[in-house]
């Protein structure tokens, strides 16, 4: 369990003091995939870097399985960091080492015997699907492959916690999908706790169980992903959840029910879904806002549909849409 208690962090810069974190309290349970989402500059990286003490908090505590991270000696901290590994937006592989040696790196640091390290690294590279790239150098790999190596490296020391700071932000949507599924797979298989930092809703929607919304150094909202996304309360959450330009206060009629349709790589067949729904169910939907993107023949993003009518119609429409592959739906509670 990770307990973050009253965490603050201020930076002294030539331009004055920057309060990056203003009193964050958060608990991450073992086995969670915990999303931390927020706009650029919200303090996400600072928060995650405080967890493994890459950044020393100005005040407050980070307690991991009962151990206060701020009170560890340098040596204890180095040992503890083998339990809390990290992957990064820029992958941060050692460019002069091949894949195998990159994965061996944390094992070397820990003083593991070379033959054992090689065995473990080979095993991990096979798990992440790069069994044929052991002797390739990072420069010879695509971004997605580099992140896979970084994931293998992060797992080498059998960590309990994996921190992902914008791990997919430098990747295209398709590669993002595959890396996210890999993280999920690893989580399910190894039962490690994962903290996912991102500014993309879709990332949280796809793999997280819980989410905290970070806004200007404060936690605006925290809870189960489905709860927060179904009924965002804070402005920060609303800005993230609703497509651009959508104001929840306007344009919803008295008798109108709204729900959100999230596309996670749904096949965009030539079938016009909304028109088809009108034909099949005799329910007309009104597109209130949409922000979708097609990559190849797959759609990503979300859309807000309004249905005039009662609960019954809403339920039917949501079921209809929700039954399509790679689409999920959430009612928006006004």
């Amino acid at each position: 369990m990770i307990e973050i208690q009253n965490l603050t962090k201020t930076f002294q810069t030539s331009g004055g003091t920057v309060e990056a974190l203003k009193g964050i309290s958060l608990t991450v349970e073992d086995g969670d995939i915990f999303g931390i989402i927020g706009m650029s500059g919200a303090g996400k990286s600072t928060l995650v870097r405080c967890i493994n003490m890459l950044e020393r908090p100005t005040s407050g505590n980070i307690i991991i399985d009962g151990k206060d991270m701020g009170k560890l000696s340098n040596k204890e901290l180095r040992e503890e960091r083998r339990n809390i590994t990290m992957i990064f937006q820029g992958f941060n592989l050692l460019m002069q080492r091949n894949c195998l040696k990159n994965v061996c790196f944390p094992l070397e640091l820990a003083g593991v015997k070379k033959s054992e390290a090689v065995k473990r690294a080979t095993e991990l590279l096979n798990i992440v699907g790069l069994g044929d790239k052991l002797s390739s150098y990072p420069a010879q790999l695509s971004g997605g492959q580099q992140q896979r190596v970084a994931i293998a490296r992060a797992l080498a020391t059998h960590p309990k916690i994996l921190l992902c700071d914008e791990a997919t932000s430098a990747l295209d949507p398709q590669t993002t999908q595959s890396i996210l599924s890999l993280i999920r797979e690893i989580h399910d298989k190894l039962g490690i706790t994962v903290i996912v930092i991102t500014h993309q809703m879709s990332v949280v929607e796809q793999i997280c169980t819980k989410v905290a919304i970070l806004d200007k150094g404060n936690i605006a909202e925290v809870g189960q992903v489905s709860d927060v996304f179904a009924a965002p309360k804070s402005d920060a959450a609303k800005r993230l959840v609703y497509p651009e330009g959508y104001e929840s206060s306007v344009s919803i009629q008295e008798d109108e029910k709204v729900f959100r349709v999230v596309f996670n790589g749904a096949m965009t067949t030539n079938k016009p879904m909304i028109a088809q729904m009108a034909i099949d169910l005799n329910i007309a939907a009104n597109i209130k806002a949409a922000s979708t993107q097609c990559i190849g023949d797959k759609a990503f993003g979300n859309m807000i549909l309004g249905i005039s009518g009662g609960e019954e119609e809403l339920k039917k429409a949501m079921e209809y849409m929700g039954n399509m592959p790679n689409i999920h739906v959430e009612e928006i509670v006004k």
């Binding site: 493994n52 040992e79 960091r81 990290m86 941060n92 002069q96 640091l109 420069a139």
Partner: protein
Amino acid sequence: MIADYFASDTVQTALDILKTQFPIAIWETVYVTILSTAFSIIIGLPLGVLIVAGEDGKILKIPKAVLSVLNVIINLLRSVPFLILMIMVFPLTRLIVGTVVGTPASVVPLVIAAFPFVARLVESSLRELNPNIIEMAQSMGSSPFQIIAKVMIPESMPSLISNMTIALTTILGYSAMSGILGGGGLGKIAINYGYYRYQYLVMIFAVVFLIVLVQLFQSLGTYLATRTDKRLKNR
């Protein structure tokens, strides 16, 4: 006309000198240069590492005052012209080598002049390193020593090799200059024959060999630097 010139005494003496004195002179120049570069790296590399690793206490906790003193010493040594430095270190040279003239003696001033330069070159190579890489190493539990030995130096190796090649060729130039004040090698020949005895042809020969040596060292350095660099694709 031209045939006459080549048959003339000047040319004959020059060719004689080329045959009898150049092999040794070239050898002296090469070994002084390599030895001086090696010692300069032995002193300069750790210094450069300390300066980068100690900055803002990021990797090593080194008192600010110590770093400032190191920087001042490096700057001071770098601002003294080489020939003057050579004279200034005569006592030290005498202490270490026992004499201030001759080829081995020139190693001392060369090292004193070059190690601060090497330290700066090392510093600049290490600064090119992506700071995120160091952060990664810290996040995986690297000790300061492991960061230096397993990350900073190996990851900067191609750049270090290029920069050490620059140091080597610069030291080669200085070693020739040391010929004025008792140093041996090609520089001594160029000055003794070209400057004191007006045998320009000998001087030109010496210069040609210096150029060839610089070219050789530079090509070798560039070759090694590119060969070690695993960031380059398609190999």
